[in-house]
Each structure stands twice: as structure tokens, then as C-alpha cells.
Symmetry: C2
Subunit: 299 residues, 2 copies
């Protein structure tokens, strides 16, 4: 039976198979580490900095497009520069889509319902020129509960976008909160996983939902448990590379298919070489990650 891939979950799985890649390259432009050439001729100030960052991100997209299935701009680094960088990110997202890449905006937004609706409109509604970056998916924070997430889910369904809800993050201190033991059994993150699994039941999303989860790749023992709790959710798996996660531990993510996991690396790709060979080095690192992770995803 042939279907036209429409939901985010279906598009993600189709794109991973088509490109034979589950690599997601995070765009975290750290100004102190950008190669010298992107600064040539730019003015001082936010507009010039945004121009340099746009060159860098464009160069990275060009370098890694062949080996990646997605890019993940980290909104914080663009917000830290100022509005011109968000205007640049709008163009960067279009460049990435033109290269066939899925765009995951990493903003970890979350608020009460009426405000979450504004965030969903900002990042998941159809693009309008000059209105800022648009993603195929957005990372969101579950601390405000299910009514805080509902507008994101509605926007994802309406606009055929995806969500990655923070479930178990990759940072060392996350365990103190996310692994809190609950009365009656289980840990906090497992309760959040159950919430994500309920949201993943959105109609039309079989077998891979459009409502996914962030599951830190530095917590290898967590991935299998997360997959058991969320059998249909695509996982965004940050923490490979600079954060030290091991690839082999990610295998359970791919139980629902190659779209079951996005193996996300940022600094290890972006800053693979600090000098003139930055694009070649980023391409090589993305290819290395693709070759190492694809057997897990397709196996």
C-alpha cells in the first residue's frame, strides 16, 4: 500500500531511509570558535555578527547535507546575538530545507496554553517572509503539564510538524530532578514519557508519531527503557560527540524504523577543524557519524 508521506513522523522516516542517515547536525554558533574567513569584511555589531553566523551556518549546511538528514539550530545562540541573527536564521532554515534537510528548532519552549499557542505560531506555522525561523519540528519543555503542551500538539497536527518533548536530558545534573522516585513507583522522567506516549496517539501518525521525545544519548541505559515507554515516538538523541555519549547504546531507539532516532552532534562537527579546512572537517565528521550510526538505524 502506497501512501503520501504527510505527517512529520512519516516524513522523518522517509527522509532517513532516502538519505541513509539519522545524523542531525546541531547549529550552535559559538562566536569565539567561528573560522576566520566568515568574519571577513563584516561590520561590528549585531548585524555584522549575524552575517558571519549566516555564512558559517550556510557553509556547514553545504558541507554536511550529503551525510545528514536534519539540522538543529539552537535558538539561544541566535537570540544571544540579537534580532538580525533571527532574521539570518530564517534564511538559514530555508537554505537547509532547499538542501533537503529537516529543520528541528531547538528552543525548549513551554508555557501556559495561550502563550504556548504563540510559541507554536512562531515556530511551527507556515513560513511568512520576515517573520523569523520556521522549523519542521520544535523542542518543547513539559514542566507546565499537558495543557501547556496541547497548543504545540494542535499546531503539529494542523501544520504537519513535529515536536520533541524534553523527557530525559543529556546534562549531568538532570538526574537529580528527572530521576526523582515517585510514590507508587517509577521516576519523574518515566511519567513524562507516559505523557508523551499519550500525546503520540494523535490520529494519522502510525507507525511513527509526530510527537517525539528528547532522550539524552549520554544516558545509554535510558534509551531502551524510553523506547519501551514510548514505542511510537521519534527520539532526538543529543549528547554524542562533545558530551561523550556512546553510539551503540542508541540502538533501541530505532525499533520503529530509521526515523525512530535522530543522532544529534553539534560541537564535534561544527568545530572539527578550527582553521581553513572547517568545511571539509565538518563533512568528514558528519560522514563518520553517518557511517557509524546508519547500521544501528537500518539493522
Amino acid at each position: 500500500m502506497e501512501t503520501t508521506a504527510t505527517t512529520f513522523g512519516m516524513r522523518l522516516d522517509a527522509a532517513a531511509r532516502d538519505r541513509q542517515s539519522v545524523v542531525c547536525v546541531g547549529l550552535d554558533p559559538d562566536l569565539a570558535r567561528l573560522p576566520a574567513e566568515v568574519w571577513q569584511g563584516v561590520r561590528d555589531g549585531p548585524a555584522g555578527t549575524a552575517r558571519a553566523v549566516e555564512r558559517f551556518c550556510g557553509g556547514i549546511i553545504e558541507a554536511v547535507a550529503e551525510h545528514a538528514v536534519a539540522i538543529k539550530p539552537q535558538l539561544a545562540f541566535f537570540e544571544a546575538i540579537g534580532p538580525p541573527a533571527l532574521a539570518a536564521l530564517e534564511r538559514i532554515c530555508e537554505t537547509a530545507r532547499a538542501a533537503g534537510l529537516i529543520v528541528v528548532l531547538d528552543g525548549k519552549r513551554g508555557d501556559i496554553g495561550s502563550t504556548s499557542a504563540a510559541y507554536a505560531s512562531a515556530y511551527l506555522s507556515p513560513a511568512r517572509e520576515g517573520s523569523g525561523p520556521r522549523g519542521d519540528a520544535l523542542t518543547v519543555n513539559p514542566y507546565l503539564g499537558d495543557d501547556g503542551l496541547a497548543p504545540f500538539v494542535e499546531a503539529a497536527v494542523q501544520h504537519e510538524r513535529g515536536l520533541f518533548v524534553l523527557v530525559r536530558t543529556s546534562n549531568p545534573g538532570s538526574a537529580a530532578l528527572q530521576e526523582l522516585a515517585l510514590e507508587g513507583g517509577g521516576q519523574l522522567w518515566e511519567r513524562v514519557a507516559a505523557l508523551v506516549d499519550r500525546l503520540a496517539g494523535t490520529p494519522g501518525d502510525a507507525p511513527l508519531s509526530s510527537i517525539g521525545a528528547v532522550v539524552g544519548a549520554t544516558q545509554g541505559h535510558v534509551v531502551a527503557r524510553a523506547r519501551a515507554l514510548m514505542p511510537r515516538a521519534p527520539f532526538l538523541l543529543p549528547g554524542i560527540g562533545a558530551q561523550g555519549g556512546e553510539l551503540a547504546a542508541l540502538a533501541p531507539a530505532f525499533a520503529p524504523g530509521p526515523g525512530g532516532g535522530l543522532v544529534s552532534a553539534s560541537r564535534s562537527v561544527l568545530y572539527a577543524d578550527p582553521g581553513a579546512r572547517w568545511q571539509q572537517a565538518a563533512a568528514a565528521e558528519a560522514e563518520r557519524l553517518q557511517r557509524a550510526s546508519w547500521p544501528l538505524a537500518s539493522g
Copy 2:
């Protein structure tokens, strides 16, 4: 003993006493509810919309400055318009500060350490023209744990800014997660409150810390318990007005002094009158809220 107020906590308390107000007016510009006059002569598109929003927010600040101690721009509504609205918000924040108001940026940001540092730089570092809005304080999300919050705390100390950590939010669905019962006793939000109280021990912040908490004003029974758990934290108390919270329940927030609570209202002030008298109606509603809440704060 006289001291120069330098930390955010000290400035907040001094400002509340000086202005005899604990009212914080939320700036949530809902395009469908803006008065007709702010749209006059603006172009279609994000730049024109940002111009209308800037006029509206400027008019609200002018109207409420006499009765409020703080404004709280909700970043989502500006992000939903696009980069020109964030450039406008930079100017709006300067307008508010020129009117003597404290600026609380409501962004509910939170991420792993290196990314939280970028958010802290974006919103809590010293202003640079064209680099986006700056706040005297920022709302942050605790789901990533203490190392995710640490860069915000460091920036708050370094730049004499404040934080309001989400502890117990005002939305109906928040209880399902935030009131989860923990093994060994207590609820999740109480554990987050304990974390905030530890962070509130930052040097130089006696008797009111610069590290505060968001405590929903719709959960009256929660405020006294929150004050017991966080004796030194200023509370941001959203939910009065459109969300239905009762003022009298907020009294325990002010145990450490008038700076112990910011009584936050948004829609009930902004849209008090949909017609030509929008500024007068906003001023009247802010004054009503000031008169109703100041006795609680100074009592």
C-alpha cells in the same frame, strides 16, 4: 544603616516601597485585541505589525507607570511576529526602564549549561544597541536541573539581575506534573522550591534574594507553603485577573517585605477597554490592582 541597593532583590524591594506598588503588568500583545489607533498608517507584514505593537506597549507603559512597579513582556508574543518585534521590544524595555519600571522578561528559558549561558547572555547581560531586549530579570524553567540553572544564577550575580524559576504555575493542567507525590514525601514542586531556596543563598542577597520563583496566584493554598519553603525568594505571582486568582491568598508572599511578591496581571489590564479609551482603562485597572494589593504587601 544605609546601603546602596545593588542586587536585584534589593532593587525590587526598594522600588516597591518607593512606588507603593507590587503590580507587574504583563505585556502579551494579542494582535486581534489591539486598539484600532495603533494600526493607523502601518504597513502590512512583520515590520508594520511590530510598529503597531511598539505603539501599544508604549501606550500601556505610559498609562500604567504611575501604578506599577514592573512590566513583564511575554517573549512568545514578540517571537510570533518576528525579528522586527524583538527589535521593537528592545526599545520597549528601554522605555519602561526610563519610566522607572523593572523589566521582567518572561521567556521561561532553560537548557543544558552551555546553552543556558547563551540565553543568560541574551537576556541578562548589559544592553548593547541592536542586540535585542534586556531584562532586569528573566523567568527560567527548572526541568534540566541545577546545572541547567547555574549559568543563569551566575549571570544574575555578575550583572545584578534576577531570576524567577518556575516552581508552581498557574495553569489548570500543571498540577498533574508539579504535584506528583515523591517517594519519601512531598510533591515535585516542593522539591523544585527547595532547589530555588538553595540557589537563593547567593552571597550578598540578604534579606531578599535575587533568585525568585514563579508561584501561580490561582493556587491560593500554595502561596503560604511556597513562602515557608523559600523564605528569601521574591515571588512572581501570575494569574490574577483573566486567570481568576484571588488577591487575599497572596498575603504570605510578602512576609520578607513588599519586594516579596510581584502581582502580575496581563489581559485584564491590557484589554480593559477595546476602544478609544484603552489607555485610561488600563491605567484605571492598574490603579485598582495597586490599591487592592498594596495593603497586603505593606501590611
